[in-house]
């Protein structure tokens, strides 16, 4: 289920969030960036309050919050919205603005709007938000006569327009909320057809407001759409209305603050311009390098393929409104381009992509290359990737890139991406629609300047558990499947049947490993297989027959963890050396140097590109690995 109130596209805050936000006050510089980074989390009311207090103190001390853009907002409401004011600075930092909020007295909209000496105007706000609900406008009751109902709606619009005109004379940008429809009905399904119901009156009001607001120079804050997406029975809470005159449920506060902040960010031009997409398991099901064109899951005919198609169609729609599309995938360029060029069921084509980055460099480096080649800021990028570790790495290295959290099921990806407000706009024109095309240059590749990044902290934060054990019966089928399916991270590409796997399992001379990986986001299941046999001529050694891994766990040091487990087994068997081989295929270039990286000594190179290695166990330096390990 997708629950927009919980803003599931945001990450959980760290447990010590309040301590972290307080430490921002002690920084020498970079306060604005630090606040923006902390604001990428989903905050509860107490965390938002700490954030607000720290930010206010920094402003009082005259400290710049750049790169956040300063913004003073005045809030006029018919209800109690102080909780929203408290949540707004964090929401603002999430959308590029450093907000100072001043709240007019409760239910003093008209008095404030006409009062030149009001402290609201003295603060010279950059924008004034006028917020009210149906109760303030008298649209909270049934009117049996259709004519009288129309009159009542006209009267409500007049009242609002009067306020907007008064504000227009006294201040800059005005934002006005529209109305959510309360969940109670009078005629049931007929409500919308009877002019005098609340539902019909509010619908008529909202339509008129869409016409009148621009005439008064005001933007509309679409509370109605938000309440509809959340569900009006959840949105309205009669208890907090009765007790505190809060116009919506307390749970709505963070989302309302975020909606307002999106609009203010858009007013300041702080909007995202480019959607960067991962490929495997984001745009199609499966791994193109392993499964091939025929094996990936995309397109009509089955539920999973259709949900990936929906992700592509959403990306295409975004492109049609002017969002630039780019690809960032750990793959060989020609392999990743294959589906875009040749797969009949793909909605996205190579010509839709402005920058196509498929290589084995880390994703932060590629995102930097994409931004540089489009000549836009990193803060204009949104990055969609199914892989939680890649997301965490990008967030750690490039906190200014928006990276939505995603659930396991790709069917939800479009909802997550479109609900986060990354591409909020305050206006739309034909030029906007064609902007994406102006960036297209035949899916070019950008030059990657790869940096050495400290990945240790982000890997530790994943709380990974690596479970390595010898082959056994429960693992047998999956082991055989991996042996026959893995192409890219496969050192020798030897294929064995399930019966062969059973023989290894029962052969006391063979060393076998099956590795499973879990992290705090997901359980990857079995992701690695190793088979070693006693060496033919060196009685103190084993020879690695098979070593393969799933590409889903690249960059997590799993190969080092597997080596460690293998070395333990070799030692337990009373031997001291390991021999290994890289046998080249047209798909496994990425692991050509794996044994070098793991500290093996290259002892021979064959004409066909094959490489042979040896490792003396006594020469191994101990490693600090980012896993909890278990296994038998």
């Amino acid at each position: 289920m997708f629950a927009p109130l919980k803003m599931p596209w945001l990450t959980e805050p760290p447990a010590d969030f309040r301590a972290r936000v307080k430490r921002v006050a002690d920084l020498e510089n970079g306060h604005g960036s630090a606040l923006a980074q902390l604001a990428t989390h989903r905050l509860n009311s107490a965390q938002a309050l700490s954030f607000t207090n720290v930010q206010q103190n920094l402003v009082k001390r005259g400290i710049s919050l750049a790169p956040l853009s300063p913004f003073r907002l005045a809030l006029l409401s018919s209800g109690t919205v102080d909780a929203v004011a408290t949540a707004l600075p964090a929401a603002g930092a999430r959308h590029g603005v450093a907000l100072e909020v001043v709240v007019a007295e409760f239910d003093q909209i008209i008095q404030t709007a006409f009062d030149d000496s009001s402290e609201i105007f003295a603060k010279r706000p950059d924008a004034v938000l006028v917020h009210f609900d149906h109760r303030w406008l008298g649209l909270d009751r049934f009117e049996p006569s259709a004519d009288a109902a129309r009159e009542r709606v006209d009267h409500a619009i007049d009242r609002v327009v009067t306020v907007l005109r008064a504000l227009a004379d006294r201040t800059g940008q005005i934002i006005v909320s529209n109305l959510a429809v309360p969940p109670e009905s009078l005629f049931g399904g007929l409500d919308a057809s009877v002019a005098g119901t609340r539902k019909a009156q509010i619908a008529a009001f909202n339509l008129l407001l869409r016409v009148m607001a621009p005439e008064c120079g005001a933007l509309v804050l679409d509370i109605a759409a938000a309440a509809e997406q959340v569900g009006t029975a959840t949105w309205f809470d009669p208890v907090v209305w009765g007790l505190y005159k809060m116009p919506f449920a307390a749970e709505c506060v963070p989302l309302v603050a975020d909606l307002i902040a999106r609009q203010l960010g858009a007013l300041r031009g702080r909007v995202r311009k480019c959607l960067v997409l991962d490929c495997d398991n984001t745009l199609w099901g499966g791994v193109i390098g392993d499964d091939g064109l025929a094996g990936i899951n995309i397109g009509p005919g089955n539920a999973e393929g259709e949900s990936f198609l929906a992700v592509q169609q959403m990306a295409l729609e975004m492109k049609r409104r002017g969002v630039i599309l780019a690809i960032c995938s750990k793959n060989y360029d020609e392999i990743a381009r294959g589906p875009f060029l040749e797969h009949p069921d793909m909605a996205l084509r190579e010509s839709d992509i402005a920058v196509f980055q498929a290589n084995w460099a880390d994703k932060p480096s590629n995102l930097e290359a994409i931004a540089a080649s489009l000549d836009i800021g990193l803060d204009a990028l949104v990055f969609l990737d199914d892989n939680s570790a890649e997301r965490a790495q990008v967030r750690a290295a490039l906190p200014m890139v928006a990276v939505p959290e995603l659930p396991a099921d790709p069917a939800y990806y479009p909802l997550y991406l479109t609900s986060a407000g990354y591409f909020e706009a305050v206006a739309y024109s034909q030029e906007d629609a064609t902007r994406a095309d102006s960036y297209l240059s035949n899916a070019r590749r950008a030059e990657v300047k790869q940096q050495v990044r400290d990945l240790g902290e982000y890997l530790r934060a994943l709380e990974m558990t690596l479970d390595v054990r010898a082959f056994d019966e429960p693992g047998r089928a999956r082991i055989a499947q991996l042996i026959n399916k893995s192409n890219q991270f496969n050192l020798t590409t030897r294929r064995y049947t399930e019966a062969d796997v059973r023989s290894f399992e029962r052969d006391p001379a063979a060393l076998t490993l099956q590795a499973r990986l879990q992290d705090k986001f997901s359980d990857f299941g079995m992701i690695g297989v190793v088979i070693a046999r006693p060496h033919d001529s060196d009685p103190e050694a084993y020879d690695i027959d098979t070593w393969l891994m799933s590409c889903r766990v690249l960059g997590r040091r799993v190969e080092e963890g597997m080596l460690e487990a293998l070395v333990t087994q070799v030692r337990n068997a009373g031997r001291r050396r390991l021999y290994a081989h890289y046998l080249p295929t047209d798909k496994n270039r990425m692991v050509r140097e794996m044994f070098d990286t793991l500290g093996f000594e290259l002892i021979a190179e064959q004409k066909n590109g094959g490489r042979s290695y040896r490792l003396n166990l006594d020469d191994i330096a101990p490693r600090q690995l980012p896993f909890a390990t278990k296994g038998a």
């Binding site: 309040r18 509860n44 009311s45 107490a46 309050l49 700490s50 207090n53 109690t80 102080d82 909780a83 408290t86 208890v239 907090v240 009765g242 007790l243 505190y244 809060m246 307390a250």
Partner: protein, 79 residues
């Protein structure tokens, strides 16, 4: 949960909601005697208590509260 444990957790919540780490509460504390616990903060506190304990109060329960001890007792009936 014992009353002492509820009081300890309430103290944490109220410290968080008032962003004031040295507040000390006992059963007879009145909101009006705690600095910063005004009517606006009271809304935050009550909503924060609901959020932290995962409970919901009824209108009449909230309007009849006299002191922290009564809030502890009310929370106890909801757990």
């Amino acid at each position: 949960m014992s009353d002492d444990e509820i009081l300890a957790k309430l103290t944490e919540i109220i410290r968080d909601q008032l962003d004031e780490d040295d507040i000390v509460l006992n059963m007879s504390t009145l909101a009006s005697s705690v600095e910063g616990w005004d009517s606006l903060a009271h809304v935050r506190v009550m909503i924060g208590v609901e959020e932290a304990f995962g409970i919901r109060f009824q209108t009449s329960e909230i309007t009849s509260l006299k002191n922290v001890g009564e809030l502890v007792a009310l929370v106890r009936t909801k757990l």
